[in-house]
Structure formats: structure tokens, C-alpha cells
């Protein structure tokens, strides 16, 4: 019991020690909006370019495979989760909404891969934004 309370206190102290700098807020936000940019603004050039290339290419391939882009919805749980995944693409998702891309009828079997590419690109971008945050607060070199 004493160990668990002291462990809780030490974890609270560790969380309190993380500095909330401008970069700690800016890096994940920019990283979400433009994939890889959270790393680029922290001068992690190679990582940023690789992340940007991977996520953006996955997103474009998803659109070219006629993947479906989910809209905000309150219906089926899978549709809602699909929307959450798509939103992870940040600026790319906003662009698809503006241009009305990804709304066509699915006409071949591998189009379903396209839908998955779009969702996973967004989820990977969430991980990428979290990584940018960890770099900004000094948890990762």
C-alpha cells in the first residue's frame, strides 16, 4: 500500500516535471495538420521527410484506389471510427472535404484497401504527432 502511494507520487512528480513550452504545443499541432512537419520544425529533417513521404503517399494511394473518405457521422460505430482515423490526416483530410474527393461509389475489390490506407495514414499521423510532442518535451532525442 505504501509502495503504491509512493509510486503514484513519483509518477505525478515526473508528469509535473515535463515543461509545457510553446514547441510542446506547436509541434504536435503542426504535425497533425501537415504530416511530418512537427519533426521538421524541430530540425529533425530526415525523420520529418520520411514521415511526410510515407503518410502523404499512403493517403494519395488510398485516394487513387478509390478509397472512401468518411464524413462526420453519428450512426454505425465503424463509420464513426473510420471518421476518427481519417481526421488524423489533418490538412489532407480538410483538402478532401474542400475538393469533395473520396465520395465515389466503390467499383472494384481493392478499393476497400484504399479506404484502409486512408484510415491507417491518419492513425499513423496521430502516432507521428505524439512522437513530435515527445521530442519537444525532451523525452526522446
Amino acid at each position: 500500500m505504501a509502495n503504491s502511494s509512493s509510486g503514484k507520487k513519483s509518477s505525478e512528480a515526473t508528469e509535473a516535471a515535463v515543461p509545457l513550452t510553446t514547441m510542446a504545443v506547436l509541434a504536435p499541432a503542426v504535425g497533425w495538420l501537415i504530416p511530418g512537419a512537427g519533426h521538421l520544425i524541430q530540425k529533425r529533417w530526415t525523420r520529418g521527410v520520411l514521415l511526410m513521404g510515407s503518410i502523404a503517399t499512403m493517403f494519395v494511394l488510398g485516394l487513387l484506389m478509390q478509397g472512401h473518405v468518411y464524413q462526420p457521422n453519428g450512426g454505425d460505430i465503424l463509420d464513426m471510427l473510420g471518421f476518427v482515423g481519417d481526421v488524423g490526416n489533418g490538412g489532407l483530410y480538410i483538402l478532401t472535404q474542400v475538393m469533395n474527393w473520396g465520395q465515389g461509389a466503390i467499383s472494384h475489390a481493392t478499393a476497400d484497401y484504399g479506404t484502409k490506407y486512408l484510415i491507417v495514414a491518419g492513425l499513423l499521423n496521430f502516432i507521428s504527432a505524439a512522437d513530435a510532442y515527445h521530442i519537444a518535451v525532451g523525452k526522446k532525442p
Binding site: R47, L50, L51, S54, I55, T57, M58, L61, L64, M65, Q66, H108, T110, Y113, K116, Y117, V120, A121, L124, I127, S128, A130, D131, K140, P141
Partner: protein, 60 residues
């Protein structure tokens, strides 16, 4: 313009991009990132073959 990839090439491309992101985000040093990225890619491709054989047996 549309792109119609085969199931295998779509899965391998998926593995390539996901492995790059996993490698960079889940490890700290460059050497570890490359190693982990290659490990993830091998697991993705291995998983594709395993899933393919499982489906082949289920279909019989």
C-alpha cells in the same frame, strides 16, 4: 486516375509505409529505428503469407 493494385502489392506497400513510421516513432537512435523498421516490415510480409495460407486452407 485510378489505381488497381493486386492484393499482394497493396499489402506489401502498406507494410513498407507503416514500417517506416513505426521504426521512426517507436525507437530513439537511427540504428535501432532501421532495425525495428525492417523487423516490422518482415512481420507484415510474413503475416501476409501466413494469412494467405490460412485462407487457402479454409477455402478447401
Amino acid at each position: 486516375m485510378t489505381l488497381a493494385l493486386s492484393h499482394f502489392s497493396a499489402a506489401v506497400l502498406f507494410g513498407v509505409f507503416a514500417s517506416i513510421v513505426f521504426g521512426i516513432t517507436q525507437r530513439s537512435t537511427s540504428h535501432e529505428q532501421i532495425k525495428y523498421g525492417l523487423y516490422c516490415f518482415a512481420m507484415f510480409v510474413g503475416g501476409v503469407f501466413v494469412a494467405g495460407w490460412v485462407m487457402w486452407f479454409l477455402r478447401r
